[in-house]
Symmetry: C2
């Protein structure tokens, strides 16, 4: 009897968990909340700056060559708190002499969606590792996307 009751509880628990998970997933779609999965991270060793892709993403660099200009999109992961993401106005460059400005009119590292954007030059591609000239991101910063950059794009 006790065993069947425990079993019943376990089944009910699983059903409730399943229903709430499904509701969460559906809600994510409807409310337009989107999920990002990093594709790799930044490494800095000695003079070299590299983007190390997770190995499963290595096919995504086919055709990338030394000299290519790329946009690197990365995540301001050190600012990923509800408080930081609620900030909508800043003094640019943290200088109180600069007038208060909306974050969408700046490149502030605090903003509702913590996407950072840096234009880089590819120096070499070795398997899943892309060596670049430089990037204004800390080591271990999650990288979200890489895109071809064009000269006309300015």
């Amino acid at each position: 009897m006790r065993r069947s009751r425990t079993l019943l509880s376990a089944i009910l628990a699983l059903v409730v968990w399943g229903v709430s998970s499904a509701a969460l997933a559906e809600d994510a779609g409807k409310s337009g909340t989107f999920l990002l999965h990093p594709i790799g991270h930044v490494e800095k060793t000695g003079a070299a700056t590299t983007i190390v892709l997770d190995e499963r993403y290595e096919p995504g660099v086919l055709g990338m060559e030394s000299g290519d200009k790329i946009w690197v999109l990365w995540w301001f992961d050190r600012n990923d708190t509800a408080e930081m993401r609620a900030i909508l106005q800043v003094h640019p460059r943290g200088n109180p002499d600069n007038p208060l400005t909306g974050v969408f009119s700046t490149r502030s590292p605090v903003r509702p969606n913590l996407i950072a954007l840096t234009r880089c030059t590819v120096l070499a591609v070795r398997g899943n590792v892309i060596e670049i000239d430089a990037i204004d991101a800390f080591p271990d910063t999650p990288v979200l996307d890489i895109k071809r950059a064009y000269e006309a794009e300015r």
Copy 2:
């Protein structure tokens, strides 16, 4: 007896749900899965193209003026399926004559993280509405972020 069993089941179900929700949230942090909340959407009416921000984000445009160059980051929402996000190589511009290329070396609208990037010129700012010159996004496309763009950035 039946009532207490039902109660027990309900409590157990809630505990399991709570634990699994907490595990999900923690997992999101550890595995580095990040959440995006759109800040607004694209509208096209007649000749005008606008970004309509959700009203709560209006403070974020303080200081934005006609003539400013901005980066608009938006979501390729029509491609938001596991299948599309798993594509890592494409024939650029959908032309089979173009050699197969890694998505990170293209501007393909299929990629693991569906962030799109367009450089725009601000024509006017009225409250939470930013009129821009043009954007290669469909009406109602979710907008993720807006950043100041610089001439030197190329």
